[in-house]
Every structure is written in structure tokens, then in C-alpha cells.
Amino acid sequence: MALPTHASRLERIWHYTYLVICTLIFLFLIAPILVVIPLSFNAEPYFTFTEKMLKLDPTGFSTRWYDLLLTFGMTDPEAPRGWSWWTDTWTNAAWINAAKNSVIIGLFSTVLATGLGTIAALGLSRPEMPGRRIIMAILISPMIVPIIIVATGLFFFYSSIGIQNWGIPYLGVILAHATLGIPFVIITVTATLVGFDHSLTRASASLGADPVTTFMRVQMPLILPGVVSGALFAFVTSFDEVVVVLFVGGLDEQTIPRQMWNGIREQISPAILSVATILVLISIALLTTVELLRRRSERLRGMSPQ
């Protein structure tokens, strides 16, 4: 927004004050996220910038906290770093195992949420859908209901049906995370289906395609960007979820957020900051993907940016 040439002096002052205010607010938004990145390379176990760091002295920085992520929980962290050291890390390091659990739970719950959610969004976007409003409200509610209530409810429910005795690892957490991810899938997929030209499906049907072919060849390519961003949202929701895991997860079902939670509650060490840094980098990658997908979706549907 450019300042018009006829602006008075007061308006000019206000305009620049306004820009300064906006900059400060943007700083408030982004600084807390970026500040952990340099701090995670701290050579000392402090949560603040040491003098050496401020002077950019290389000895003030180290990757020891990242190293700790690999060695913590290993049987023999002092062994020479060869093949056996890395297999030890891969099988025993606490953070590596937490990461594996997080990815497994995240993938399965994402598949479940995206599959069910996409099909449901197709139904919800049809004009003839009965009871659309109330059903939509129910399907979005996992996003609105406080997580502690969901976790409490699931704790009782799972213990009453004895889900931990079914012999399927992570099942309870996967189902719960799928539930929490579903609203995001519904929202993003229905958003891409808004303005979807239903005459395309009719045209495909009149040309002899059965409903499955129509879906795979006509609808799916058009809504795919929405489906993928919904899936990413669902994955992030699961990847970041801690309360349900704390309440219903078994003792061996450690995930990254749970490990972080324990780390923060007991003794916060800069190792947490190195995990945080990695997570920030992952979220930057995901955000970029979603942004690119959104643009692609707009281009596909012929919606030029306003």
C-alpha cells in the first residue's frame, strides 16, 4: 500500500509508525520460532546466547546436542563410529525410536484420515446430501473439542474395550490421531471441491465411464492438491500430538512429542532445542509443499490470483 502524494504530514508519520508496528508484530510471530535454531548449536548447556556466540567465536558453537540425540539411549555410545555404532544408534537411541514410532503412527493415521475424509468430502459436496449441516458439524468437531476431553474419553473407552489386548501395536493412538486429522482433510478437500463443475462427472458418465473410472480419471486429478494438503495437515496433526499419546499410549509407545514433553517437564536440556530445530525445518518443508500445491490447485481450476 503506497502512500498517496497528497497525504498530510500527520498521515505520513502514522503510515511509517504503522509499518513499524506491523514489523514488530511479524517479529513477534516469527522470532520465537527462529531463535531456537542458533541456540541449538550452543556449546554450553544454557538457553541463552553466550558471549562467545555473540562474538561469533567458533568455539561457542557445537553440534553436541545433535550428537546427544543420536547417542542418548545407546548401549555403547563410546564405541568407534563404524557400522556397529550406527546400527546401535538405529536400534537403541531413544530419539531415533521415538521418531520411528511417530512416523509409523503418523503414516497410518494419515492414510486412514485421508481415505475416509476424501470419500466423505465427495459426498458432502453434493447438493443433494441430506442433513449436510449437522453431519459437517459432527465431522469437524474433533478440531473444536478440547484435546483433554478427547483424551479422557478415549482413555475410558479403550480400557473398557481392552484395545491393548488386541495385539495390534499403536492401534489406539492411530485411530485417535486419524480422528483428530479428519477435520483438516474434510476442510481442505471440500474447499477444492467448491466450484467443482459437476457437469464434468456427468460428461464422463455419458461417455460410458463407470463411477470409479470417473473418480480416478476426472475428479481425482482435480482435487488431488486438496487431498495432499489435507493429508499433510493430518500427518502434522498426528506428528505433533502429545496429550492422547500420554493418556492412551503404552509405555513403549514413545513418540517425538511425548519424548519432548517428558524432556521439558523433567529437565529441559538444549537437546530439546535441537529436536525443535529439526521440527522447524520439517514444518518449513511442509509449508512450502502446501503453498505450491495451493497454487497448482488454483491454476488447475482456472482461478487466477485476485
Binding site: M1, Y18, L19, I21, C22, F26, F28, L29, P32, I33, V35, V36, F47, T48, F49, L116, I119, A120, G123, E128, M129, P130, I135, M136, A137, I138, I140, S141, P142, I144, V145, P146, I147, I148, I149, V150, T152, L154, F155, F157, Y158, A178, T179, I182, I187, T190, V236, F239, D240, V242, V243, M260, I264, R265, I268, S283, L287, E291, R294, Q306
Partner: protein
Amino acid sequence: MSDATLSPAAMADTMPEQLTTADGKPLKQALIRAQSHARRRAFLLVAPLLAFILLTFVMPIGQMLHRSVHNEGFTWHEDVASGERTRIMANLSQWFDQNELGTEPGEAAFAALAADLVVLREVKAAGQAGTRINYERSGSRSMFTKAARRAQRLEAPFKEAIVDLDEDWLDPDLWRVMRDASSSYTANFYLAALDRTKDADGNVTPVNENRQVYVKLFQRTLFLSIVITFMTFILAYPIAHLLATLPLAKSNLLMILVLLPFWTSLLVRTTSWMVLLQSQGVVNDALVSTGILADDNRLEMMYNQAGTLIAMTHILLPFMVLPLYSVMRPINPSYVRAARSLGATSWTAFRRVYFPQTVPGIGAGALLVFILAVGYYITPALVGGADGQLISNLIAFHMQNSLNWSLAAALAALLLGGILLLYWLYDRLVGIDNLKLG
């Protein structure tokens, strides 16, 4: 009237009585059938997900709500190993049925109690029954475990024998609590969640002043949520306006600064604030080294309400910016220009022309932020300290530490009721369809 144009009435005359499809079925019926077919198909697409949500979300919450009015601590005992259910306190329950509230417990009542204590001892349920009574009258648990241990040796007259163990067995309040607990269904946990209790005559009264915690906590949750909503509004409005008025290429770039926090793990953001706000943290260090603050006078911004307020404002800010932005973007700038050309100052033009058009966005953002803030758990638990806790944290406390699950469920039910009311309001005013994520 010429032959070429027919009036509608004339047209109806020339047409057959009923329109039919090619195979001779009446068109109306065929249409109804086709529509119901389409409706069924649409519903079938949604049905699997609906069933999934009902099973993994609605049912567990319903079951938990049931627990808030249903507690079998004083009525049934379930053996952990065998799953065998035994009725406990049956004799006493019978005595309660036969005698009204306020009846002085006589020898018959104590005889029933003694018989029940023997059962408690047999199935090892004294702790469970005592705990149930203890929820409403503290100090009762040990009375039950102690009495049950000696249950075999109790002899008539039972009243004397039991009172001999503990004078408190004569307390009319204890008998009121046992009477209420002897039926599995009770509303007493809701009373407790609202800082109310019943006196010996069954009248609802406020609890002792130094034990009134829940109403205060609900008030604090509301207050903090309102403050957080207001702060997000104050911070979001200028940047949403900036984003909405910049050319799209630039605003998309700046939008990343709003969306990145949105995509970053909640725990990461909370950790960052812990790092920043600690007394030995970055903010305090910066203030001390620039000389604004004395070293021994560091600000306490963590483990108190300030920590909760700052961190939650930051975390919920994107939920306010996005709805505001989507309302501000389509506002035509010529409205403000017209106001200015008609002689309005820039402040008047903003106040009378621009601001009213953004009110729907403010409503949508404020409701969403408020709904999310009221139920927040993680951030207050980590940075809130003692006085920055919200109602969710107390529910977690009763779930994990005090193990008073019925009270936790009652608190959760009250919170859920409030949230659903706001959610309904949101759907009415904004519409769930308009919920956007970036």
C-alpha cells in the same frame, strides 16, 4: 392472439395429463426416485467416516459423560483379575430405602453397616468404597479400611462397637454421603464441580470457602481466554490489514510469516517461549545487558499467568489473522477513497467505512480463538506455573493424580457444554464451511 404464440393455459390444454418418461413411468415419480437415489448415494459416501467418528469420538465422549453421573464405587465391586462383579453395601442400601433422609441411624443401620463391612473385607473393596465416600467427605477412607479390617470381630450391639472404632461414624453428614453414594447414579459430582455440596439434610450449600477452587478456575479460564482473544485481535488487525492491502505477490510472501508458526509444532513454539522468557533466558538477558533492567531484578515471565498469556497469544494469533485477512482482502479500496473525497479524515473513513466491513471477520476470528483458548492444555501445563493453569489442566489433574474420574468427567462435561454452545454459535454466525486453513 396469433397462432404462433400459445398462452400457458392453452399450452396446458394441449399437453397430456401427466408427463411420462420414455418407459411410461410418471415423470414426477421418476424424478423423486432419482433424487432419493442421489441422496442415498451421497449419504453412502459419508457413512463410513460418520460411523468412524461416532465410534472413535462421539461414543468415547458420551461414555465419559455417563461417568460424570454414574459411579459404582459404593455399589458394585469388580474383581480386576476375574472380572467378577459383586454387589457391595447391599444391606445399608436397603436400610436407606426403608428410612428417610434425616433418620437417626440406629442399631438396625449399624447392623447393616457391619454386615456390609464383612463383605467389603471378603472382596477387598474397603478402599474402593472408602474412596467413593472420601470424594465428598474427606477423611472417610481410613474409617472404612480400618472398620473393614476389624469387621469379623464386630459383635452386637453394632452401633457401640463401630462407634468405638471411630466417633466419626455418628456424623450425620457421613450418613448423608453414604445414602447418596448407595445409588450408582448421582448429580453430586456436578455439585462438586460447581463448588457446591449437600448438608446433612440434603440441601445444596456452597462448600467451605478455602475449598472453593472450581468456580474460580472457570472464571480464570474465561478471563484469560477473553484477554488472549483481545490481544490476538489487537495484534492481528494491523498485519491482516497490511496483508490485505499489499499486492498479492508481496502479501503471499509475508503470509509465510503467519503460516510458518501455524505449521510449527505446538511443543516447539511452547519450548521457544520457555527459552525466551526464563529468568536466565534471552529476553531477560537482552534487557539486562542493554541496561534496562538490573541483574537482580529480572522479570518473572514464566510459570505464571504472564507466561500463559504471552505464549497462547502467539500460538493462537494465526487463527485470528486468517479470518480477518479473508474478510479484508475483497474489500474494495474505492469505498475508503470515496469517503476521503467526501471530506472524511482518514480516521473517520477507517472508523465509519472500513472497520464496519471487517466486523464479520473479527467475529469469526474471535469466536475461533476463544473456543480454542478455553480448552487449552499443553501450553498452560508447561509455562503456566500455579496461577496460569486453566480448567483443562485441572481435568488432567483429576484424571492422573487424584484419580477422581467422576469429578474429572463432570468438569469436562461443563467445559464441553460451553464449547459446544460456542461452536453452535460459530456455525450460526460464520458457518463451518467458511473455516479456512491458510
